[in-house]
Amino acid sequence: MIPKNPFSPIYLNNAATSYPKAPGLGEEVASLINACPLHPGRSGVKGEDILFNCRQEIARLLNTANPNQVVLSKSSTEALNIAIYGLDIYGSTVITTAMEHNSVLRPLYRLEHLKIIKLKIVGCNSEGRVNEQEWENAIIDCSPGLVILNHASNVTGAVNDSVSLLGIARKNGAVTILDASQTLGILPVDSRQIPADIIIFTGHKYLLGPAGTGGLFIREGLSLEPVIVGGTGIRSNLKTMPPEMPQKLEPGTPSIPLFGGLLYAIKWAASQPEFKLNTAKCLEILENGLEAMGAKQISVKGYRTYVVSFHLPGWDNEDVNYILGNNHSIISRVGLHCAPLIHQYIGSEPRGTIRFSLSRFTREEEIATTLEALKEFR
């Protein structure tokens, strides 16, 4: 008999959304919801410009000087739509990878269906990392107007060499987008080193903020047409969106409580930088334990996030997930993880994988309990 999980629940689904959040986040968001709006425009409550401060913190993380180039949105998906539909790519070839999330693939499929773009998808290796030679060949052959690269796979955790890959694309004249949804907050994403014209991020994963927050950084000099238009709180006499950034791309009343929460979470994380050794150790224990019990893991060497994908031979992934959740209060994720193309490369077709994704809060004891629970499947 397996003892009852003393850490109930054990949350191993941080690549989907982080839990727990930054301590005190809920209280901060609640205080902002309950506070009287002091300014009728966008700066909001508490006499401080929460949106600007949030942009500033994100700009600091991205190592960029101009916070006004940080556009806030409600998610990575929305940010990707703002970027993809806001660029002038009519008639261009767009290159992306088999690692991508549907938040990248579906907007591109739509443009391809409408015959606005030609789409080329570059494959990856068995770790889920982009094939560099195939990427370079595709860029040379297709001369793309745009490339979109996943910084790290949400399925395997493999991190791409974004400096090299986007460098090749930029050298060949493409606009470059980096999807950092799986990395910002847990790995460095330095806009001065990575030749990305646009960097996409989300607030509710490794930035430890609330769902409903995300955005994009746009390098100065690159102009996007607004996809959604409306009120901005400034230059209301204009019939068009104002040219100023970021208002040009941010119509509508922003969620100051949520972005105030994101600001709080980023500051909290900055005050607690020492976590990577512990999380890396948890990952190592988890992988060794899975190997010892004969799990079929997607093996990833080198630079990576704290994600493990696997399959237990003889068991349906969904059943493993169900039993872990219902018998042991262990929260994992199962299936394609909204990244449908990667599975043909990593050997997990057609049903995908079971995924454990760790966070800075994951403890060794939780990993030990999880491995004990998995022993029941033998």
């Binding site: 008999m1 397996i2 059943d319 169900y322 039993i323 219902n326 018998n327 042991h328 199962v334 299936g335 394609l336 993880h337 909204c338 049903r351 995908g352 029941e376």
Partner: protein, 100 residues
Amino acid sequence: MPMTIVKINKLEDCFDGSYIYKYEFSKIVDERVMNAIAEGGRLQYFPMFSKPFYKIYTREGLQIKGILGEYDLEVTFPITDQFEKKKNFEEFLRLLLSRH
């Protein structure tokens, strides 16, 4: 008091458009209830877990899974005739539970 359905919640599915619902009951699903639901279908029973796990494949193409001794189970309905199959299953379930 007979056993009743307390709550029905739709769950997310990553795959093929099948519809998954979680059914919660006023009493636990015991062996008698499990076997009654499985009648006419195929039951897979996994007693090695700290709480036994079961799966039932019905003749109507439903897949049911649960943990014995818990208050709920999950049902995956096939995409074809899903609403009718859901309605029929719930009628069958209510009748069955009223006897437990």
